[in-house]
Amino acid sequence: MNRTFISICLFSAVCTSAAAQRRDSSFVSPTVDTLKAAVVQTGRAKRSARSQTSLTVLDKTLLNKACFTLGSPDLLKTLQLMPGVASGSELMNGLYVRGGDGHDNLFLLDGIPLYQVGHLLGLFSTFNLDIIDDAGFYKGGFPARYGGRLSSVVDVSVRDGNYEKWKGQIAIGLIDGRLQIEGPIVKNKLSLNFSARRTWIDFLKILATPFAADEQSKRTIKGTGYNFYDINLKLTQKIQAGSKLSFSFYNGRDAGKMINLENIDETNFSLNWGNSLCGLKWEKDIIGDDLFLDTDIFYTKYNSDIIIDGFQHLDEENIFKVNEKNKGFNNDYGTTINLYCNLIRFNKIRLGGNYTHHYYNPFRDKTIDGINNSVNLKFNSEEVSIYAEDEVNIGSIASINAGLRYSSYYVEGQEYHYWEPRISARADVSDKLLLKASFSRTSQFSHQIASCNIDFPTNIWMPSTEKIKPMLATQYVAGLKWTMNLNLSVDIELWHKNLNYLYEYTGVNSFLPPINQWEQAFAEGKGRASGVDIGIEYKNNSIFATVYYTLSSSERFFPAIYYDWYADKNDNRHKLNLHCQYKFNRDFDMSASWIIHSGDRFSEASSIAWIYNGVYSTVVYGKPNLYKLPAYHRLDIGFNWHKQLRNKQSRTINLSIYNAYCHLNAVSAHIERKNNKIQAIAQGLIPIIPTVNYIYKF
């Protein structure tokens, strides 16, 4: 309670200080950007739905100031602050949107799907913001052009390189470094935008080696390490007026290793995962801005592996040589076409389709004491979808976006076909008040399977099959937006979501993905979630402040797990986020974000019984996810010092403080027997993390 009070005081102090400074400041920035809910002209063909509900657009300026994690601004950490979104375990990049699961989100990088978006077990996301133009985040009311995932769409666009001149930036932080460069390869014709990022955590162990107490410690340090990198590239060629060809490429990889020493025996663990994608996109005006199309071909790949090589000690005498490789691999290639037609007055029509070939290849090869056992599964599947969307504007008082998507999936002789109606509408009651509502049905054919209660990046993706059905969701949203004046607005959305054909692991617990148990070890169930998201935004030229609150409930029903509905593990009943960005003057700005939400849930023993008259007792598990971790709260603060240098160069020094008042939030829990009493105990691990980052722009 004290910590909560202190955190509120600290946050208030930060905001008050910011407000006080604003009064003293004579500089008013003309460029402070805002979260533009339901707005949107970032690129002619994108997110133009005036009637859109549950959409947040984050542009480049906002993203670069929003939420810093270990010195780098991060897209997913920013999205986690949004109402209706649960983040899962501390520091993880989980995105559990309106009762959805972690794998229900469609991540698009220049329109190409990405399967895994976390680096460093979720501390960073794969999106390097240096190269990103903007990101659209849909939590509901999905336009018909999006499909393949149940709960949200994160549509990220990479910026075209500058056609006029070369420029770029270098950023050096405590644990990572970034380089971004863009410019014309052929002036006004062909541009390039390139960025690369890498951590140097693995170099820090070199510093630790001299402090190793003995040879064993040295071996441990040597055998332990972690790094990640990612590379983005975009080449854009203007072919002629109204025609453009662009090539996008992304490659990212995480590699971690650990060593376990038991006497002279050495066991090495390694954990690797990464994405690669590339795509070629052609955009063409047919009749000016009234009729145009874009089409692309793409390839995306995700692979992960867990390798164990060493010895298994059952007891002093029974020691086995173990070599185990668990690999998950899937790739997609396909094509998309979209046609945009504005020829009919008050109508914006979009038509399009998508074909994707999915290939899944999970693999396990295990040898214990010379006895080999391997499982190598291969699935090929085809996904075909077409859609039509029409946004009708009824004067200036109302607009409706009605669409229909047809999705089909072919796998191993099995076919699935779904019609997915989507509709969102808005009515302007007055200049200040608008009402909005939406309905959407979505389907998802790929499942990410986990064998425990946490979403690891190495969890493998599997297709729908005859037994494992595609997941389906239906979402209803109704709300209002009240713009009190130019500076202040209130946005309220009520939502309800039903999820069907969800799958939960029912086998023996393990950290390793249950490759050989696909279909058998998963139980079918359903989910339901409802809630209200409230967003209050205040903005002027130098300050941007938001208050986001969510009241929600999320439940699951799996007959193979429990006879009744039970709380979802990410059922955070209350969530409040206070965020403030303030620009003191041209050279200095700061941001602060305070978040508090109800704790995550977990399953543990809840009751105790005597087995035999006071001689032997046993603990009994109650309802799944019955326990709740303590409420989660933390304050993050970021400061930016900018300095204009010669020749239009500049530098920025960023100081970020994650968890500023060092509240150790519970990340795990267990049952402990102490003084003849059994108690549930939770542990907190992540303290204050201050970081600095130096950014040089040229």
Partner: protein, 309 residues
């Protein structure tokens, strides 16, 4: 440069020094006592024994087992009442005895109310007896390698396996079958987690009320083809073993399989007791209570072992 260096060093040191662990006490969300039922018909040949215990929330002082008063108990088989014996000497009222018709597709329903505690209810449907064959692949001093085969058209449901060596004399670890004595053997799967042993210590044996019974549950995924190889190893060595082996294969109802799975997960938490344990570790099909109402049906085969090689 020096300033930057010092700043970096102090920040890094601050970060490392502030790394620590903090404990929170979480109060139990269960505040009221409830009943726990453990009923699995078909795990013993003649009668069915089941238990009803009072559970108290964690953090409270556990009560003695007989600390409840029965208001109402009923057991139905396809809607017909089955008699329940309650007066089991000092075991009462924890353990109960009844005769359940061992007929496939019979629906068993139980409801129970203790004074001051919510009424519980549960049901199960008795599965069909399994049909199977066992081949002895090899037999030596170390172990006996066997193969279980279930015909494809009979392959449905979930299975657990027990194996016994015949012995001459009756001991506490023996079971009686077909007028002969049998000692239970250890079963190991050829592949890691295809067969897991679950300790169902709460099942009661009428003559020996505190005897545990372990089942070797065959993971569903291991029986896709209807065949699984396994090996037997002697749990006890003695001079009076005969060269006969008894195999009991149990076909379990869904809820029995889920419950055994959950028990195994809770008893062998490979995830080190953190909250990463899958939700299914909390399985129950007892409404307003905890535990299991399940059923199984067993088939038996006796094999004479070849001469040891």
């Amino acid at each position: 440069m020096k300033t930057t260096h010092n700043l970096l060093l102090s920040l890094t040191a601050g970060f490392l020094l502030s790394s620590c662990e903090y404990h929170f006490k979480i109060s139990s969300p269960e505040t009221e006592a409830k009943m726990m039922l453990e009923f699995v018909s078909g795990h013993q040949n003649d009668s069915c024994f089941f238990s009803l215990r009072k559970l108290v929330p964690i953090g409270q002082e556990p009560s003695m087992q007989s600390d409840y008063e029965i208001e109402h108990i009923s057991l139905l088989a396809n809607g017909e009442i089955i008699d329940i014996e309650e007066d089991l000497d000092f075991l009462s009222p924890i353990y109960y005895k009844c005769k359940v018709p061992n007929i496939a597709s019979t629906k068993l329903e139980l409801s129970f109310k203790a004074k001051g505690i919510d009424e519980i209810s549960a049901h199960t449907t008795i599965p069909q007896k399994p049909e199977f064959d066992i081949s002895i692949l090899s037999y030596d001093e170390e172990c006996c390698n066997c193969k279980l085969t279930i015909p494809a058209e009979k392959l449905f449901g979930h299975y657990a396996l027990l194996a016994f060596f015949e012995c001459n004399t009756l001991s506490s670890s023996c079971e009686e079958y077909d007028g002969r004595y049998w000692v239970r053997e250890n079963i190991e799967a050829m592949e890691g987690q295809s067969i897991f042993q679950v300790q169902t210590f709460r099942f009661v044996n009428w003559k020996d009320h505190y005897k545990s019974k372990n089942y070797y549950v065959i993971d569903d995924s291991a029986l896709e083809t209807g065949e699984i190889n396994f090996k037997l190893t002697h749990s006890v060595y003695g001079p009076d073993f005969l060269n006969n082996c008894l195999f009991k294969l149990y076909r379990m109802s869904d809820e029995t399989y889920y419950y055994f799975n959950a028990l195994y997960n809770a008893q062998n938490n490979a995830l080190d007791n953190f909250n990463f344990l899958p939700s299914n570790c909390a399985y129950t099909n007892v409404r307003n209570g905890a535990g299991i109402m399940g059923s199984m049906a067993s088939g038996e085969i006796i094999k004479t072992l070849p001469t040891r090689k």
